[in-house]
Symmetry: C2
Subunit: 296 residues, 2 copies
């Protein structure tokens, strides 16, 4: 058996087109409709600049007004919070995205929570986290990677309710929220993490119908760890040396892809799986926030 | 093998005495020290009145100034929120406890979140929930039942890190927070809930080193579901008919106690297990909040 590839690149491209069409339609119906995101960047980290540029380009492509607000690396926390507070009050701004990481003199937690939770398109604010965690609550925004994973699973019509689910990794950005969201969908979820022993990992993973791996370790999941017919979502982004590449390295996930694809029913490749979904979900969160603001 | 009984009554009595001693010592050192809690009750539900009376009595016994603020069942949401806002600003008040349930015209979620999170001795506010959920965050207050469970496990020197843990039930008050808290302590945690199949339940429970059951079903856990030597924490409070009792019923937990105590290493009885721990943790949260306010 060879697993069906969950093609995040194709799914995200289709979703991006849907978002573009929806924005274009909304602009036709409501000439004043102009979804707008402000991306806040502090300092000049080259990787951050690349991400910011990619996000702004994505916004432009679908008809979202993307503005970059750049601060010197020496900006004070107070200046940053005051500016965020203005953006929170500016009704023409529907989403605010603070590019992380921030310089070490700035408290990321504090800044993340300074973004009004209705405009928090990253979904990292405490109020959004609490809403994911609480059983009855419906979060306004779901962090982009978990949201992208759910979208892919739905796209591939993977049943979650009644299934054994393992989430490897317990970060606030991926493992924490996706485990809760899959539980809310009816999965019986186990979180495997750094304190889980190899025996425990094997016990849970080899019984799992769905595994989401977000630990950042090459070959963390090998064929002997997974069940025949499992659905494998690989969130890992690890660079390994590869002399055939100009850069000298290539991107791989957490999963021994070649081995596991012979045993799994479905698997996401890296690259081209979860990554492109994460990017498009920023747009999806933004357009939802804009529609809420306009009352559509 | 007969399980060691985890005696919540004795542990809570000892902790209550410690709290009393600590308050008495603090009052000696700081003559102006006066920990104070305000309990808000809306309407006249007899069960609520009983709980409120019990809580006030407990406060008095240890030297906490407990005040009851009673509202007519017809009070408006706005009146309630305005009053809570005054209490939030009153530095002589260290804890505010809104007795639930509230009348149906009042939004419990809204009222719960109207209590300033530093004074939220129930630990139900969104900011406290988010802090439990987030990996890096330290919650100011832990909801009383999960806090009581952790205290009992520590008291009995139960190792959590590296263990297989199952939490049955996923409420915001017990299952949700305790699963996250046990995971933060290094347990590999699976949440069993209403969408978990009987086969799944058996698979996870029979492999668990620690089981916390909070589902509210008589005999939810039977001996065949548990592993020899497991630690069983029974949070269930179920009333079953019992003609030998004057009331005609008696309190039992979720666990087939007589059966499971022959197989488990440790087990909590019902009554006299988790229940008394929950009550004393209100006092514990309050005294911690008061010490924070005074800066001790």
């Amino acid at each position: 058996m060879t697993a069906h590839l969950i093609n995040g690149k194709a799914i995200s491209t289709e979703l991006r087109q849907n978002i573009k069409d929806e924005i274009s339609q909304l602009k036709k119906e409501h000439p004043d409709f102009q979804p707008k995101i402000v991306i806040v960047q502090v300092g000049e980290r080259p990787d951050s600049s690349t991400y910011v540029r990619m996000k702004l380009k994505s916004c432009k492509e679908v008809g979202i007004d993307g503005t970059l607000l750049k601060f010197d690396a020496a900006v004070t926390q107070k200046e940053l919070i005051d500016r965020l507070s203005e953006l929170n009050d500016d009704s023409s701004v529907h989403g605010i995205l603070v590019q992380l990481p921030l310089p070490s003199h700035i408290d990321e937690e504090l800044i993340t929570n300074a973004v009004k939770h209705t405009k928090d398109v990253d979904g990292f604010s405490e109020l959004n986290m609490a809403a994911i965690f609480k059983r009855s609550a419906v979060p306004l925004q779901i962090p982009c990677t978990p949201k992208g994973i759910l979208y892919m699973l739905d796209h591939e019509k993977v049943q979650i309710s009644g299934k054994n689910v393992v989430v490897c990794g317990r970060s606030d950005i991926v493992g924490g929220p996706i485990s809760k969201l899959l539980e809310k969908r009816g999965g019986t979820v186990t979180i495997v993490h750094s304190k889980t022993t190899p025996e425990q990992k094997h016990f849970y993973c080899s019984n799992a119908d769905i595994i989401v791996s977000a630990v950042g370790k090459v070959n963390f999941l090998e064929p002997q760890d997974i069940k025949e017919g499992a659905v494998i979502i690989d969130v890992g982004t690890n660079y390994i040396p590869d002399s055939t590449k100009k850069s000298g390295h290539r991107l791989v996930g957490d999963v021994d892809f070649d081995g596991c694809k012979e045993k799994a029913a479905m698997i996401t490749p890296v690259p081209g799986g979860v990554g492109p979904m994460t990017v498009v979900m920023v747009l999806h969160n933004l357009i939802e926030a804009a529609k809420r603001e306009y009352g559509y």
